[in-house]
């Protein structure tokens, strides 16, 4: 039994059984998200270490998704013992909720890869035959051999197109059924017409057939599709890992008094859960027994703790600061705060003008233009008495040559490269079009608590006690698991614990040093009078107090507060220098917000805002024509994150906020916000260049096609040339935003 959300050292015997699936009757399987996995050495060490454990039959690390699968038989191992073994090797592992582990085998990705392989095989072999025909056409190929080669090409191309083209055909059909056009309609039309016309030409002994163009087109487009899919898959994987790292578990008290750690998804209304000091609540509920103070800053932005006693309603996302609580889980949908927030988020998403991704906008212009051009070509050649056959061939050639190889690669290739670059900088994107929206931002709105400030408490800078007192207090604090004591202990990492110190749950630490008794903890523990406490609290402003009773009878308050992120000032300064407008919107009190705003040099800081007020302010900014980036972490920020044009959350944010945000950044520093903006601007510029390259290519190629000069050879060169050009250009996004 140990505190969440740092489950690196589970010690109970089987409280994690909710995370285990049984492979067959005997073999147990658990998936772990592993933090700190970077290199081959780590991987080897981890696999060797775990598979040498008694009873473990399989320990396999997936370095791409940073996960490990472990299987074992018999009672010698439990999930907790395995997680402990992993942390013994120097890594942090978090169990995966099997309900969340959606189809680990990536069926869609495999399907695309299979289609890609078939198209590649067919393209290479048909090209082999086509090159022979092209060179034979200018030398001495016999008509019989040419027909044979065209027949062979048809035999390869027909099944290949039928198999590899399905992705496009299905999506085109769906679009047509919905009476709309997407990129896949001209693609499907182009490919099918090219194959059909080539069949006709094969049987009429023509010099040219376009089998190679049709298959090569599919091959290039499938590369684009696969890149697009890989990127989305990757961000989904990391989102799932994050969810596991956030340790969304709850300790359920069973009827027989036994405690069991379960994924939140397994907790039901009416269950009784145990919330230990320092643990974050994973559910909404009503306190059944125990008294404590809860830190609601993630929920309301308010930094002063709220009291919790039997009958108090407590919310998911709040942090238990004091004693042990037993909480009866209440139904969602009972007008709880979480519920209000959820409703606001839904509303915000509904109102938000969905940004139309660049590629979709290009497709909207592209499809009608191509169809019109092709139809005009057909009619034009007919008008010049070229005969319907020649007219049709030319019109189809126009369809083939305009088919968007480059267009299909232009955006996904840049997205893949840019998200890879961002990932190295510790930023995980939720979707590809977030890049484009980030690039348009001109106004940045920060939440204060947990975003500009560190998520955990630290000792305040303005103490009323001297350094020696703090050091003494820190030695006591080492023996406590209370968050305020932890803040004190982490300020003096070299502190050695006092022998015989023991923690009185929910009160503080008592110890004997050199024959005198020392106490560190609540005012009540140290025997502080109410009037003395109120006076000290008033002097301390909004910092929290922890009391130290010294050996000489002196009782002193130590202030614990919130610290700005180490580079908050610098980040805000850089952003302002780059011309971004920076604001603070916080749920905390106005005077605290004013203080922070002054420290950071931000002109506009509003405090005391409810979630709906934050949305109102963001809507006002948007109405003024600004494009707003919201950076926030709290439950109270989630609706604002959804309402902003684009949003970023720190990794410490509550789950709901991460779900509403477009990107998540890791680490204590705020600088990833700058990187995200810089990389996205660069990526957006390269996407634009790529689309222009595609347009220029078409402006050169289309007149040639309309004039009827496009041979399969020219089509092949044009397609592969433009695709390679666009992909190479995309690689430049790797260098955006300075060195990784």
């Amino acid at each position: 039994m140990t505190a969440q959300p740092a489950p690196a050292s589970f010690s109970g015997s089987d409280e994690l059984t909710g995370f285990v699936t049984m492979v067959d009757g005997e073999t147990a399987h658990i998936d772990l998200a592993v933090e700190g996995l970077r290199c081959a050495g780590c991987m080897a060490k981890l696999e060797r270490g775990i598979s040498s454990l008694d009873g473990v039959s399989k320990a396999r690390v997936n370095l791409t998704s940073k996960r490990m699968a472990v299987e074992w038989t018999g009672p010698s191992q439990t999930p907790s013992s395995i997680i402990n073994a992993v942390s013994g090797l120097g890594f942090k592992a978090y169990p995966f909720d099997p309900d969340r582990l959606e189809a680990a085998a990536d069926a869609e990705g495999r399907g695309l890869l299979r289609a890609l392989a078939v198209a590649g095989f067919a393209a290479a072999n048909i090209m082999l035959l086509s090159v022979s025909v092209w060179s034979g056409n200018v030398t001495d190929i016999t008509p019989e051999t040419r027909d044979l080669f065209h027949m062979l090409s048809a035999v390869i191309a027909l099944p290949a197109v039928a198999y590899s083209g399905q992705t496009f055909f299905r999506s085109a059909l769906a679009a047509l059924r919905a009476k709309s056009l997407n990129m896949d309609v001209p693609i499907s039309l182009g490919v099918l017409l090219a194959v059909g016309m080539s069949l006709f030409q094969t049987f009429s002994h023509a010099h040219h057939a376009y089998f190679d163009s049709a298959v090569m087109l599919l091959f290039f487009l499938l590369i684009g599709r696969y890149l697009d899919h890989t990127m989305r898959r990757r961000t989904r994987d990391f989102a799932a890992n994050l969810a596991a790292l956030r340790a969304e578990t709850a300790t359920k008290l069973l009827a027989d008094g036994e405690a069991k750690t379960l994924p939140v998804s397994a907790i039901e209304t009416g269950d009784l859960v145990l919330v230990k000091p320092g643990e974050r609540l994973a559910v909404d509920g009503i306190v059944e027994s125990g008294t404590s103070e809860v830190d609601q800053s993630l929920v309301t932005g308010e930094t002063v703790f709220a009291r919790a006693e039997p009958g108090t309603v407590v919310y998911a996302g709040t942090l238990n600061q004091g004693g042990v609580l037993q909480v009866r889980v209440t139904a969602a949908g009972q007008g709880t705060l979480l519920d209000d927030v959820n409703r606001l988020i839904e509303k915000a998403f509904a109102v938000k003008n969905r940004y139309v991704a660049l590629a979709d906008r290009a497709a909207r212009v592209y499809a009608p233009v191509v169809h019109t051009l092709s139809a005009l070509t057909f009619l034009g050649w007919l008008a010049f008495d070229a005969g319907w056959e020649k007219s049709l061939v030319t019109a189809i050639a126009v369809l083939i040559i305009t088919c968007p190889c480059a267009l299909g690669l232009a955006v996904p290739a840049v997205q893949v490269v840019a998200t890879g670059r961002l990932f190295k900088a510790g930023i995980l994107l939720n979707g590809g079009d977030a890049l484009e929206r980030l690039a348009r931002v001109d106004t940045i709105v920060f939440d204060k608590t947990g975003t500009l400030t560190m998520p955990d408490a630290v000792i305040a800078g303005d103490q009323v006690v001297d350094e020696a007192t703090l050091k003494l207090a820190a030695r006591l604090a080492v023996s406590s698991s209370h968050p305020l004591a932890k803040a004190l202990a982490s300020a003096y990492p070299e502190s050695s614990p006092v022998d015989g110190a023991h923690e009185e749950a929910g009160k503080g630490v008592v110890a004997t040093l050199d024959g005198a008794e020392l106490k560190l903890g609540s005012a009540a523990l140290c025997g502080v009078s109410d009037s003395q406490r109120d006076a000290a609290q008033k002097a301390a402003g909004f910092a929290s107090l922890i009391w130290l009773a010294r050996e000489n009878g002196e009782v002193l308050p130590i202030r614990i507060g919130q610290a700005l992120r180490p580079d908050a000032g610098e980040t805000v300064h850089v952003l302002q220098a780059k011309g971004y407008r920076v604001e603070i919107l916080s749920g905390d009190r106005q005077d605290i917000v004013d203080g922070v705003a002054a420290d950071l040099g931000i002109a506009s800081g509003q405090g005391g805002l409810a979630p709906a007020d934050k949305i109102a302010r963001i809507e006002a900014l948007k109405a003024d024509g600004h494009s707003v980036l919201m950076v926030g972490d709290g439950l109270n920020d989630a609706p604002a994150l959804a309402a902003a044009d684009v949003s970023i959350s720190p990794v410490t944010a509550v789950h709901l906020s991460q779900a509403a945000a477009d990107a998540v950044f890791l680490g204590d520093r705020l600088a990833p916000v700058i990187t995200a903006l810089a990389v996205s601007r660069r990526a957006r510029a390269i996407m634009g260049q790529n689309l222009w390259l595609a347009v220029i290519y078409n402006m050169v190629a289309v007149p040639i096609a309309i004039a009827g000069f496009v041979t399969p050879l020219i089509a092949a060169l044009a397609m592969s040339g433009s695709s390679i050009l666009v992909t190479t250009n995309a690689l430049r996004a790797r260098f955006a935003g300075g060195k990784a």
């Binding site: 081959a40 370095l63 791409t64 495999r110 392989a117 062979l152």
Partner: protein, 57 residues
């Protein structure tokens, strides 16, 4: 030109063989963790003790 009767089937069969090998690799999960695979080749715990380079612990 009768040589084509052998060469074309040979070329196609070789290609099909490659395609089959890829499909097999895909099916047996070899594309699940490309980054891991790139790093696994550097491991030497399959070597006898005295031929290993000790650097990772």
């Amino acid at each position: 030109m009768s040589v084509l009767v052998y060469l074309i089937p040979a070329a196609l069969l070789l290609g099909l063989f490659g395609l089959g090998a890829f499909m097999w690799a895909l099916k047996s999960g070899q594309f699940e963790d490309l980054e891991g695979a790139a790093n696994r080749v550097l491991r030497d715990d399959d070597l006898p003790e005295d031929q290993r380079e000790h650097h990772d612990e």
